[in-house]
Symmetry: D2
Subunit: 325 residues, 4 copies
């Protein structure tokens, strides 16, 4: 059986990564596996920034945002030389398997690394965007949605007090997940996502219907990657095409969406996935991502998480329309 593994975080940080690291470490201890932490992702693997972890190393971190192992995107690991160095470092420590907490960039690297050096990786989906095939939710997504929602709640106070239209840009370059969930929960009139085109004319129509019902303020949530442009551009288009006098404001939530204390959901999800990743390695899994689908632990090959798109639920967009009636 596998005797020594290492865990690292890679790519953008996400709330709940620490809960996942904790679960990887504690589960390893439980099964008598030695466990090492690698700092700064593949960069630290190459540099040998690796240390042994114990139960105590992960005390009192379950509630912290960010990642105690730090994260980075590594250019060097994309070179053959970089991967060679990484392998040598792992050999020094006798590491036989890896848990990689990150997204598709991380999993792509792990796949190549396995082909070259035969060290198996089980991935855990850590990204606020929830754009990974093979799991219903990713680590950090529930927290990011609640952070966006708190911001929307605050902005609505101001929108209502001044009879304003607010365009709020949330994260999600290729994915409308954060936008849809925070938009529905925030009572937005319209949600604009990259997966589905919302024509500007439709936005204007919805706003006008609201004004006719003397709805004086409106919230429009825009995913950063929306086809009609980001929030500022959409707002400009609206202003230029509507002749009546409305007070339109734009705000971009930005980096606050990545941080913060993880929600219960994210801590539990991260714990289950960390446990599942270690048990996956123990059972001989390799080049797979551990996910939860319909409340069951599922292992999906990296080639599928990388290749297959994760569709959004169009029923949710239908619901936005109905609930803004």
């Amino acid at each position: 059986m596998i005797k020594k593994i290492a865990v690292f975080t890679s790519g953008g940080d996400a709330p709940g990564m620490n809960a996942c690291i904790r679960a990887v470490v504690r589960t390893s201890m439980y099964y008598g596996i030695e466990v090492y932490g690698i700092r700064r992702g593949y960069n630290g693997m190459i540099a040998g920034d690796i240390y042994q972890m114990t139960s105590h190393s992960v005390s009192n971190i379950i509630q912290r945002g960010g990642t105690i192992l730090k994260s980075a995107r590594s250019k060097e690991f994309m070179t053959k030389e970089g991967r060679q160095k990484a392998f040598e470092q792992l050999q020094k420590f006798g590491i036989e398997g890896l848990v990689a907490i990150g997204g598709n960039g991380t999993f792509t690297g792990a796949t190549i690394f396995y082909d070259e050096y035969g060290i198996p990786t089980v991935g855990a989906p850590g990204t606020i965007d929830n754009d990974l095939f093979g799991t219903d939710y990713t680590i950090g997504y529930d927290t990011a949605v609640n952070t966006a929602l708190e911001a929307i709640d605050k902005i609505r106070d101001t929108a209502d007090s001044h009879d304003r239209v607010f365009f709020i840009e949330v994260m999600g370059r290729d994915s409308g997940y954060i936008a849809i969930q925070s938009g529905i929960a925030g009572g937005a009139e319209i949600v604009m996502v990259p997966e589905v085109l919302t024509p500007i004319t439709e936005v204007i129509e919805t706003l006008k219907q609201g004004w006719n019902r003397s709805k004086s303020s409106s919230i429009i949530v825009v995913a950063e990657g929306d086809e009609e442009g980001n929030a500022a551009e959409v707002a400009e288009k609206i202003k230029s095409r509507v002749d009546i006098d409305i007070d339109i404001r734009v705000t971009t939530l930005g980096h606050i969406q990545r941080g913060g204390i993880p929600t219960a959901y994210d801590r539990i999800l991260a714990s289950r996935l960390g446990l599942g990743a270690v048990e996956g390695l123990m059972n001989g899994h390799k080049n797979v991502m551990v996910g939860i689908i319909n409340n069951e632990i599922i292992y999906t090959p990296f080639r599928d998480t990388i290749r297959l798109p994760k569709p959004i639920n169009e029923d949710m967009l239908r619901m936005v329309k109905i609930l803004s009636t």
Copy 2:
């Protein structure tokens, strides 16, 4: 097709009930159905405390805890005379169907009422305890877990600073759902739930193992209905059986778990269920609860939600043990 419906909340209040009321009203408006609100549950139905609602009635309530329709437990509705009066009031308004947001007590009343007077009800599960068969989650549960978790996080600050053992009692008279989720997310060493007996000797054993690893503080989460007694009683038993000097404290979270701003999850769940309840009535459903299982809308007969227990996930209890290694 159904033309007039009414909505009410009944039993203990839960965060997200307002989001559900909003969805019921807006969905009705969308489909051209007249919608009425009944205040104070069955008591208001009997008293005729009923008023027509419009989109505007539910503006700016999605983020509020409690219920704008107020709630109550009704003794009078348990009598034939009470139900007769309720029926007469509904007839006055021409109401042809009901959406009841509540739990099994509410659904039992609705079933009897249908048998007597033929007015169909679709129920939406509104209770923080998550103890209803027919849905993965109930409205208010995710918020209650996060509220309990925030409290646990705060208490751990003090536990760590003083090397204390804390027993924290959370809600859940017959159900360990809140305890398990808040316990895992809060990094509790032990979680005690009504569904599974945790012997006092095992609690003592786990605490001792922690001390041997020089783990100086511990958190034990106890559901209020635990067989070994509530948190204060369990703490007393431990104190009387352990001879070494430890500083044990007990705290009961109490009513704060019912209130608060609903999380994104609860608002979206409540919105989906409110929409599903109205569409259920439109499609001729009666005496059923709308729920979401594996992300799909499901209608379960009241007789099943009332009769069938909702098992807890024992894998979760296993996880508590592994993660406290």
Copy 3:
């Protein structure tokens, strides 16, 4: 004695305005004074959008952000015709005194209005910027600082995880109050405010000292009106002048700083000022702002609040430097 008064909110909304409205209404009821609410500031005064308020009108609003009376900036009140109409509306209702919750723009209008029509106003300082002479704190300031601080805490999670330098822009066009307090509380390395020039060279020097101590991430808080330009401009200047490779990010907190549930401090301050405003009118005060200085209620003439600058505490800037050692 004065028998009928009216209250309104004007200018930018601020958390705690509702607590102040509540105190004005309840204090009036307590003393047997009839009290009216005017919606949308001076615009509503001109339009006669005025209604009688009772204790019940202000139930359950103490915790809400924004203002139930809505707010606006009025161009029409700056004209003689506008003020004439406003006076006629107030006469219709028999209103003998006004409580204006807002800032210097509001107080300037009130002063002119008194000179023309003799209706006295007592002002309450409602602005998140804390830039009003005559009070230690303004309504909304403590909440805005805590909102900015929560955002900084979240961003630090990410900064630490990725070894980044973050420039965070907070509100305060002419005033560094929010920047200083949120910067100190957020553990910022540097705080840049409009009142005091922080040369770019000094910023670079401080960052370099940190890197030499292997401090890998840094937070710089910039008030939106800083002389060296806003956060994005300052960040650009730094990037162009530093030759080593650092990952610099910029985020602008924006409108979230105006909204949100008011803190205990803001609710108590707002309540005291609302009470003080009504008692001020009862005691014959006019054209004054009620404030709290060293925990005492003080009435300061509008001409002073308008004319006199409110200096920032330079000791605080000294503290930023010491604490980033």
Copy 4:
């Protein structure tokens, strides 16, 4: 000049203690003073649990509740032998001055210690109760009030939904500060504090007046040390003397009030006091507590902070009455 100092926390923990420790360490570094941390208060001093601190030791702790130095109440330090051992330990490290973060128990010990061994202490007021003479606010108080307030806000959701009367017990055995501030901010109808007797008959009278105005729910905040008994006892008395049918509930907030992320106010206060404590030692102060009165740093002899009571502001109790009109 003083060259080596040590800092410790003692008594009950309070949010902001870490921010104070950080300020003590960073200020010492700034002035070139060596600084040591003592773990677990006087117990650690006796045991020699002392380590040198640097800027890095206090990185990323400003936002954390509890105390990284841990705290304890020491019986051994109350003995001559205990203090002798403590002195010997301090001598080993060459420590010439102490910063003690705690309350009057801590300061009493420090005074005796100085008389015996001549090592000067400057105290910083760290207690959530705000019951120390010599400072307007103590470290942790603002956070505790906001924590109590959040709980009150949540409970009001439920109180309103069910037309209930809630008795909420907050901390403050000898002091009504938390009760008054959280009560006013929470819109409580009545606040009961140890300093002033509120007769049960007056409570009943106020409740009845509310019911006559058809105010259906009420919140009564009770400090744990109230003369009429704690919240449960007061509620019992009310129930036994009122003949009409009301739904009365009691909840005790308990230990959550000690923990949590410190507010901006507490972090800034703690930072100023930490800086002031070190500068106090540098300037030859001994046996004094550093406090802030009317925004100025003040040093008050321990004998006064111990002997003199801190009166509550009776104007605040008057305000409770007016605002519940």
